[in-house]
């Protein structure tokens, strides 16, 4: 249902013919030829809420890991053993599809990564992640849109514009370059997490409303089964993630469709009862894994030229908190998948997990700038020069050199 809420951007649904030809000089000539032959696809998935990288790709070889992550730490033994990626890291068992891609050389992980943002606000962190600027609140455009705008007019990627999935275009895809908007048709439902946050607010400020809402929700639970567990769509459910991935893949697989897509999945803010190999986070990771599967299936004709980049605003605390969850942190992981990815490896300059090695004695210390990872993909997959990447795509990022060798 469409309630009081039309799209804020009137141009969103239209693929406009205008293009940012101003930046054509930035395109490397050798890639102009290569791209004519290749027709690359790029998908960026944002995990909103801050993914616990230590529970997604666990450093099981680090002697301090199990102690810090306590009862939710992954392990290579037990009922739900983590999937070993190398001698040091293991993947959450909720992600068998990514494990298969990894073994096929089409999946890679970069660990101990962070943006340049060092505070712990989701909104500001997402703003930095998506705008590509060193600080929050600077611009109303995103680095993925500026990437498209920086490509020469004739390039296929530029000609087809971008795809923004969701009722509104994510910031990462907003800007001057033309954007196609698409949203899966589902009715978003309140998640249990949102309901709990609201009930907590009411408990402190308005017990009458809290009592009424609690009653209303438990009636609903009885009527429909457990909240959240019934797949009813929304970008925080496995079904919703799969649906979004399938739709986006179909659109970018089409000959005349966009070549670059942005999606955002919700629900990663696991402060309480995070779970490890099973539980809340594992369900979300399973949803992400299902999205990988849909992309691989629908994009199979162009899979060899496809790169998927999964990023999140920051990581979570290395130590679990008093409610078996983790709080806002710093370093985390980036997932890379697709036929164009030079995979089969975990790339990490591992900082260690001893108290003095943690960032502020609390978070996984970041040793890799997320912009370096993304710039590496953009340079080698789409052919943008380091100069353009450092000036218009990720302003003031000259220190974060594009990471080479991520693309086949």
């Amino acid at each position: 249902m469409n309630l009081l809420c039309e799209t804020p951007s009137p141009s969103r649904r239209a693929l406009l013919a205008t293009m940012g030809g101003l930046f054509a000089w930035a395109y490397l000539p050798k890639f102009a030829r290569a791209a004519d032959a290749r027709d690359p696809r790029l998908v960026v998935v944002i995990l909103r809420g801050a993914l616990d990288g230590l529970s997604a790709v666990a450093p099981v070889g680090d002697p301090d890991y199990a102690g810090l992550h306590g009862q939710i730490a992954l392990s290579l033994s037990g009922d739900h053993p983590a999937i070993p990626l190398d001698s040091f890291f293991a993947l959450n068992p909720a992600m068998p599809v990514f494990a298969r891609l990894y073994r096929a050389g089409q999946g890679a992980v970069v660990h101990a990564v962070a943006t340049s943002y060092r505070e712990r606000s989701h909104f500001d962190g997402q703003d930095v992640l998506e705008s590509g600027f060193p600080g929050p609140g600077r611009v109303a455009s995103g680095w993925l849109n500026r990437t498209i705008a920086a490509l020469p007019r004739g390039a296929r990627v530029a000609a087809h514009g971008g795809l923004g999935v969701g009722p509104t275009t994510p910031l990462i895809m907003r800007g001057a370059a033309p954007v196609l908007g698409w949203s899966p048709q589902n009715l978003p439902q309140p998640t249990e997490d949102l309901a709990n946050r609201l009930l907590d607010l009411y408990r402190h400020r308005d017990p009458v409303l809290g009592e009424a809402l609690a009653q209303g929700l438990s009636v609903e639970k009885i009527a429909t089964g457990e909240m959240d567990k019934t797949p009813r769509g929304g970008f925080a459910s496995a079904a919703g993630m799969k649906q979004a991935a399938q739709g986006a893949a179909r659109l970018i697989a089409a000959d005349d469709g966009p070549r670059v897509a942005a999606l955002a999945f919700d629900g990663w803010d696991t402060h309480a009862n995070e779970g490890g190999a099973t539980g809340r986070l594992a369900q979300l990771l399973g949803g992400l894994d299902g999205a990988f599967e849909e992309f691989e299936r629908v994009l199979s004709p162009v899979w060899k030229d496809t790169a998927i980049v999964v990023v999140t605003e920051f990581g979570r605390t290395a130590r679990i908190n008093g409610t078996t969850g983790t709080d806002h942190g710093t370093g985390t992981v980036v997932f890379l998948a697709g036929g164009a990815i030079k995979g089969g490896r975990v790339i990490a300059d591992w900082p260690g997990l001893k108290p003095e090695q943690l960032y502020e004695n609390r978070d996984l210390a970041p040793t890799t700038d997320l912009r370096a990872v993304v710039k590496g993909v953009l340079a080698d997959h789409l052919g943008l020069s380091g100069m353009v990447l450092a000036n218009s795509v990720f302003p003031d990022s000259i220190g974060a050199k594009p990471m080479g060798g991520l693309i086949v």
Binding site: L4, C5, R48, H122, F123, D266
Partner: protein, 487 residues
């Protein structure tokens, strides 16, 4: 006057339709009472006019014509079927029932246009869209709140059928709005002689037993409108009237009706006094005898009861309950009732008296926004309301407050307890989630909270929104926060 953000917040929310994002809070906080009073003295502020909104008579004339067309079509179909039954005696009755239409050559399927909604629904939607836009643009919206209060006080209901559905908006524009800052007595006269009210409470059916029409037919008095005038519109249920008063008032207003399609009594769709249905003679209401002839008799009763002390008390109580508290401070009610009496029911003075009452500014924010107030406030927060009124109308339906469609003549409930129920809260949360889903990360809920509430927001709400895992979740929390739900 020193800036008072708490008072500015009260002005915008308790009195108005909620903060918008373009500096409302700063302006209201600079002079909370002046901010409200300025709206009251704006010329024509309560009126609503637009080219696509037909006056009552025009709307009803269109409906009458539509009904006539439907009737003619129905008749011709019935005649055709009757004729076919005569020439086709071989058809067994069962087959006839299954295949009522004439056999026709099979035609290729053509894509059909979605059927146009019925005429009354088209008009109703246009009226709703105009209310939505007005509720979004009004600043601070105290006048629109007054319009809503009086429209609910003198409610009609679309549940009665197409007649009220097509005329409810015009009723509000023609009978309520011109008087919300005028005199209660004038509003009362306008309301009780409006075709929508006359039809809603069956007065066109009411016939004086000894009138000309009464002598000729078996039909007689219908007390519905007379009872609600006394019980709901003026004196109140404990206002000191008796069943005899109801019956006598019913006699007095026999003949108060509207002209039909053919316009024999006057212009179709307008109020007319049908002397043939009017019960002749003098009648006494509340021990006062009225011997006027014709429509003047009823008008005189309405004029008297509009100034009755019980009416003043009844209106003052409802007014204070709507704006201040379910159980309003007695001193406030008495002051408003005195104002009402002293001014002969001057509603602008009544509204000013509310603004100047200290109780209205210090009461805890225990009132709950009604569903329509919640949706309006949400639209003002996100900075946009849709042009298409259907989602708004749908949301009002599932929240239990269909536009101009209360289940009875006492209108929608006006207490917090009535709206803060489990189902209602659950549905509000679902709607908040859907609005937030539409906007996703396009709005920063921390900035929004700051703009609409500033220092009046509680630390807990600030914290809950700052800690939200996404802007989308933060927006849902903001829309459900006590700052938005309460007023």
């Amino acid at each position: 006057m020193a800036t008072d953000i708490q008072a500015g917040f009260i002005a915008l929310n308790r009195f108005g339709l909620g903060s918008r994002r373009d500096g409302d809070l700063a302006e209201a906080s600079a002079d909370p009472r002046g901010f409200l009073k300025a709206e009251l003295v704006t010329p024509r502020i309560a009126l609503l006019e637009a080219p696509d909104l037909p006056p009552t008579a025009v709307a009803l004339q269109r409906l009458f014509e539509e009904n006539e067309q439907r009737r003619v079509t129905r008749l011709s179909v019935m005649r055709a079927e009757a004729a076919r039954a005569e020439v086709g005696p071989m058809s067994p009755p069962l087959a006839e029932a299954e295949a009522p239409s004439m056999p026709v050559a099979k035609q290729p399927e053509q894509p059909k246009e979605p059927p146009k909604p019925p005429l009354e629904q088209q008009v109703f939607r246009a009226e709703a869209a105009a209310r939505l836009q007005r509720a979004f643009s009004a600043r601070p919206g105290f006048v629109e709140r007054l319009v809503a209060f009086w429209t609910n006080h003198f409610c009609v209901s679309t549940m009665k059928g197409p007649f009220v559905r097509i005329s409810a908006g015009a009723f509000e524009r023609d009978a309520i709005r011109p008087h919300v800052l005028g005199r209660f007595g004038d509003m009362l006269q306008a309301v009780e002689s409006h075709p929508a009210m006359l039809f809603y409470l069956d007065n066109q059916l009411s016939i004086g037993p000894t009138s000309q029409a009464g002598e000729r037919s078996k039909r007689g008095l219908n007390e519905n409108l007379a009872r609600e005038i006394l019980e709901l519109h003026t004196l109140g249920v404990n206002g000191g009237y008796t069943q005899a008063d109801v019956t006598l008032l019913a006699r007095i207003i026999t003949g108060w009706t509207f002209a039909g399609r053919l316009g024999q009594l006057g212009e179709a769709g307008t109020f007319v006094f049908n002397v043939n249905a009017h019960e002749p003679g003098a009648h006494a209401v509340l021990q006062h005898s009225y011997d006027q002839a014709g429509v003047a008799q009823g008008q005189a009763v309405l004029a008297d009861i509009s100034r009755h002390p019980a009416t003043a008390q009844h209106i003052a109580y409802k007014f204070a309950r709507h704006f201040v508290a379910d159980d309003p401070p007695p001193a406030l009610v008495d002051r408003l009732a005195n104002t009402f009496r002293a001014t002969g029911g001057d509603l602008k003075t009544l509204s000013l008296a509310l603004i100047d009452s200290p109780e209205a500014w210090v009461a805890e924010r225990t009132k709950m926004r009604s569903p329509s107030e919640f949706l309006y406030a949400a639209g003002r927060i996100v900075g946009r309301v849709p042009d298409d009124p259907n989602p708004f109308l749908g949301a009002l339906n599932i929240l239990g407050m269909p536009l101009w469609g209360p289940s009875g003549p006492n209108g929608f409930p006006d207490t917090a307890a009535a709206w803060a129920n489990p189902e209602g809260m659950k549905v509000r949360l679902e709607i908040a989630v859907r609005i937030a889903d539409r906007w996703r990360d396009a709005l920063n809920p921390r900035d929004l909270l700051d703009e609409i509430a500033g220092a009046a927001a509680s630390p807990e709400t600030n914290r809950a929104i700052a800690r939200a895992e996404s802007k989308q979740q933060g927006l849902a929390l903001l829309l459900m926060s006590p700052e938005v739900q309460r007023r």
